[in-house]
Each structure stands twice: as C-alpha cells, then as structure tokens.
Symmetry: C2
Subunit: 367 residues, 2 copies
C-alpha cells in the first residue's frame, strides 16, 4: 500500500507540475489516498467524509482517521464539477472604503464563512469596460453559485446577463432588476430625518443629496431626497432649489458641498439633512471652518449610524449594515437550499430596520 505507484502512472507533465507536492507523503492528498489508507473505495470514503449516504460507524471512523492522518481536504472545485455547487458567492459592491459598504461586506463575509462559503469580491468602483467584464465574464462563469449586489444600480442588460446563466441574484439596496432585494425604506428614512428637523421648528431646511438623486428617483439617494421633499410638502414648505445640493456621498464631498451651500452670502438654512453620515461629518467640518456653530446656528442630521456618529454627536437615522449583510446571506443560502430549513422565511416585503438616534447636532430652531 505504498503511495509510490500513483506517481509512476502519472504523465510526466503532471509529475513535473505536482511532483514536489506529491512526494511529500501527507500533501495535497486526494480522496483515493484516503480510501486506500482506510481500505475502502473512493465512494465509501466520499460518503464517510461528506456525511451523505449510509456508512457503517466503524468504517466512517477509519476513513476520518485516515483523512486526518494525511491531512486530506476535499477540493471544492472537483466536487463542484459533479454537484454543480461551488460553495462560492460573488459579491458586487461599488465601494469598499465607505463605512456602510465596508460594514455590509464584513457582515456578508462572516455569514458566508460560517456557512462554509467563499466570497469572491468584485469592486465596481469604476464603471466602464471593467464593469461589463464582471457581469459578462466573471459572474457568468460557473464559478459562483449566486451573486449578491450591494448598493448597485443594475442595468437591464446586467440583470439579464445573470438571468441567462440562471445565476441567483440577491440585491441589498441599490436599484434595477426584479431580483430579490433587501433594503431599508429610504423614502421613509428621508422623511423621518426631515420630520425630526421640522418638529424642532425648522422651516428652512437644506438637503445635501447623493449624486444622481434628482434624475434617478429609484436609487438610494433619489429615494432619500423624495422623502425629504414629501416631508417638506406635508409641512407646507417648498425648499428653494439652492438649498438642495447633490454631492458624492463621502466626507470630502459633504465638506465641499456644504462650503458652497453655507458660504453663500445672505440668510442661511437653519438645518441640514445630509444623505449620509459621512456627508454630515463633512458638513460639520465646513460649518466649523465658516464659523457657523452647530447646532446653535445649524442643526444637522445624517443617515447611517456611522461608527463616528457618537464621537461627532451626530443625530442620525441609524441602519445596521452588518445585520443587513448577514440577512442577505441568509436569503442567498435559502435560495441555494443551503440555509437552516427550520429558520422562518424572512419577511421579504418588509424593509430592514432603521432608527432615529437624536444627539447634540440637532436642536430647536433659533428664536
């Protein structure tokens, strides 16, 4: 029962490629090695190790022991070839370095790992040819069992590229596609933030919206802005166009936009609804630079529940991206028939939870 035989049968090119590894006894063992050592067939070894199918208890033990001895770990790719499952999920995400997206990604990664799945990351930071290649080549291959799209606005074409390959798609936020989608109610979020400021007596409230909010009402920035307008309208107020400024949803973006908004001579808004906490932090910094006291002269509300919000005393509508990541993985696993069957199905219609957290950045309107 020596291991030598196998190698002499191998073709020379294979031998060259894997020779070094093979020659060390315990390395890169295949299931046939386990089977041989345990004195059973590959089929039995497979059943014993996977837990699928009947195997006598003592046989199983022998197989498991043999696997441990030679450090055997099954190749998921070889298994995937026959089962059609790679145990790998593609995650498409536009940013990694914005708080919300980073938290979601960490939540997804943790949940996937716990389920024995790999996470293949596709960063869509720069659209263009790269983005096409992701949808038409990388995600189209059989390498991923499913796709999670985080905060991406999918085109028809992108969705159908995935459908063509019958690749399950679950979205978190973003827009486009008829696929399964988990999301907070961003319209309600915008409404709530604005109502909080209205409730404090503010009447001139500005909005630092995310890029594209105006043209694309279905996107996250668009929905938050919609909520803002609705709350204002319900209070009988019509924001002046100059008080609604679009910006990249980052801290420097918020800083620059707020500098413009607040630096203009003449009466200023007394309150500001920022489309995200990062935008709000930028606005706070801009106010500081312009000598505008927050919250005495300017109340600010953000969205996210950013890790820094407490430090900056920022009032915000919290959401829970880590939980959202976990939840989206739950849905994927269930779609793949791999979740705990016992788990109740998530209420797919219901929006993900949010919560208004009031801190010192918002206060009663002056006078």
């Amino acid at each position: 029962m020596s291991f030598g035989n196998r190698f002499h049968i191998r073709r020379s090119w294979q031998y060259t490629l894997l020779g070094a590894a093979r020659r060390r006894e315990a390395l890169m063992a295949a299931i046939s090695d386990v089977a041989r050592l345990a004195g059973v067939s590959k089929a039995t070894a497979s059943r014993a190790l996977s837990g699928r199918g009947y195997v006598a208890d003592d046989t199983r033990e022998r197989v498991v022991a043999a696997a441990a001895t030679i450090g055997y770990i099954a190749s998921p790719d070889a298994a995937g070839l026959v089962t059609g499952r790679t145990k790998n999920v593609g995650v498409v995400i536009p940013f990694v370095n914005r708080w919300f997206f980073g938290e979601v990604l960490e939540g997804i990664e943790r949940a996937l790992l716990a389920a024995g799945y790999d996470l293949t990351l596709y960063n869509l930071a720069h659209s263009g040819p790269e983005r096409n290649r992701v949808f038409e080549f990388f995600l189209a291959r059989k390498r991923v069992d499913a796709v999670i799209a985080v905060g991406v606005d999918l085109s028809e074409h992108e969705v159908s590229a995935l459908e063509l390959r019958e690749k399950p798609l679950v979205c978190l936020g973003g827009s486009g596609g008829a696929a399964a989608r988990l999301a907070v109610d961003d319209r309600a979020v915008g409404q709530l933030a604005t109502e909080h400021l209205l409730h404090l007596g503010h009447t001139r409230i500005a909005h630092l919206a995310g890029t594209g909010a105006g043209e694309a009402p279905a996107t996250v920035p668009g929905r938050r802005q919609l909520g803002f307008f609705e709350a204002m309208a319900a209070a009988g107020l019509t924001p002046s166009p100059a008080d609604v400024v679009e910006t990249e949803m980052s801290m420097p973006g918020g800083y620059r936009a707020a500098l413009q908004l607040l630096g203009h001579p003449g009466p200023r808004p007394t309150a500001l609804f920022a489309a995200s906490d990062e935008v709000a932090f930028g606005a706070m910094r801009a106010a500081e630079r312009l000598g505008i006291a927050v919250p005495r002269e300017l109340s600010i509300v953000g969205v996210d529940g950013h890790e820094y919000a407490e430090m900056f005393d920022l009032t915000t509508v919290e959401q829970y991206p880590g939980e959202q990541g976990r939840a989206v993985v739950d849905v994927v696993l269930r779609l793949l028939g791999d979740g705990a069957e016992a788990d109740p199905l998530p209420d797919s219609g219901a929006p993900m939870p949010t919560r208004l957290v009031v801190r010192a950045s918002s206060t009663a309107a002056p006078r």
Copy 2:
C-alpha cells in the same frame, strides 16, 4: 447535430439538476458543444480558445465563432483541475473599513481582475476559531493559487500551514513568516514624523501608538513607535511613559486616547505623533472638545495620507496603499509565472515609498 442527444444520456439526477439550463440552447454550454458546432474535436476547440498549441487560422475562427454563438465561457474550475491553476487568489485582511486596508484591497482587486484573476476575501477581523479555520481549511484547499496577507501578524503555525500546502504567500506590511514581504519602512516613518516635530522646536512630544506597539516591536505599530523613540533619543530626549499611549488605530480610538492624554491636569505635550491619520483625526476632535487649539497649542502629525487629511489640514507621512496593492499583485503574478516577463523584477529589498506632507496641523513649538 442536435443538442438533444447529450441530455438523454445524462443520468436523471444530473438532468434534474442542470436540465432547465441545458434545455435553453445557448446556456451553460460546454466545450463539447463548441467542438460539435465547429465540427472539430474538444482538443482542437480547447487549443483554439486558449491560444495554446497550433491551430489553423480558419479552424480557430470557426471555433471562436461557435463559442460566441452559444455564449460559451470555459469553467475555470474544470480547467484548474487539470492545470493545477485556479486563477484565484486568497486575500487575508484584518479590516475592510479602515482607510488603509480598504485602499489596499481595492488596489489588489483591480490588479487581479485585470489579470483575469478572482479575489477570494478572508476577513480576519475577529481572531479565534474563525481565523484558524481560514488558515487550516479555506486557504489550505486547492481553491487558491496563492495567498496575499495584508497587515496581518502571522504566527509560525499559520505560515507553516500555508507552506505545508506549498501555497505561495506574499505579505504586505504586517509581520511574521519568512515569506515575500512588501512594506514601507515603518521605523523610518516614525522617525521622520518625529523629526519633523523636533525640527519645529518641540521637545515634549507624545505618541499615540497602535495597540501592541510595546510588546511587539516587529509589528507595524511597534516599528513606528521604535522610530519615534529613536528620533527622540537622537535629540537627547526621553519621552515620559505617560506621553506614550496605545490605542486601537481608528478615529474613535484616537479620540478616546487623546482625551485621556490631553485631559490630564498639568503641563501638556506641545506635539503629538499619531500612529495613523485616523488616530490623528480622533485626536484633533478630542483637542477641539477640550478647547486645545491645533496647531497653536498642539501640533499633530499622522501617518497614511488618508483621503480626509487635506480636509483636516493634517500633516502626515503619506503612503500609497492603492499602489501597494497593485505591487503585491505584481509579485504574486510573477511568482505564479503569470506576470509580464518583460517587467523588471521589483526591487524586493527596497521599502515602498512614503512622503512627508506638511499641512497646517503642525507648527513651531509655542514660545
């Protein structure tokens, strides 16, 4: 030459699993479909598509056309089984949501994607059993061709788990392992930041160090702290232990640590070297809260070249994480024999570039 035959041969369970996909003509095509359509053997189809081996020009054209017609994309996992190459790299990273790490990750992703590689993400945020599982199971499988470790302090055991599987390992920053490592000279960085403050006439300089700097001089926080001490010593100064505080390398971490450091009654340091820009931002916020004017009463220097540094007018020793990510992929590709052979070998001994950028947060010592 109908596609129907194939399916009747399939076993029923396969049929059930893949049936729906197969029945739509153009879907999930295999190379045998391409071969049949082009009227050649699988071997020739493979050669034509991969570009390896001789194929007559017109044959190639026919094969390529056939592949396009049925939307054929090769399964990398099946190919990997025979070539031993998965075109997939595992990336191990402790954070995704800290600026430096996010930038590195984006740089790695872009470079890998451009080379046709996938990136499988393993987030080591929480060490413990999960971390073990990553090294002993996930990375040990044949699923990844190589491993990139970003800013991780590898144990002997972790390194040998990888070596056992002959998995090429390239590190960016961090410590541990004799593997290939790209890194900035963190000792020099600490020295430079400190010398800048000394040069401005400061003599009482505090240091907000990263967690573990004291016990682990080989780690990034340890090396930066070493540089700090060396520069101080060279100036004939010995920092008081109270002026060296360890903190998590985040903005809230810096905030809390600086609150302690600066809130203490009695004379204060006039300058502060923060182990990262995020720590520095936190310290700025703490100073603001305590009514300490930056830079008039307190000069602050950070490390990183964070996206926000300009907004906060922070003097910092910049590094270029996006470039670092790209560079580490270069090394991996070369190790895998997949890089442009023409490229000059990177000067593996040389540290990655850094640069002192002076802004308004640091100024001459009071008096």
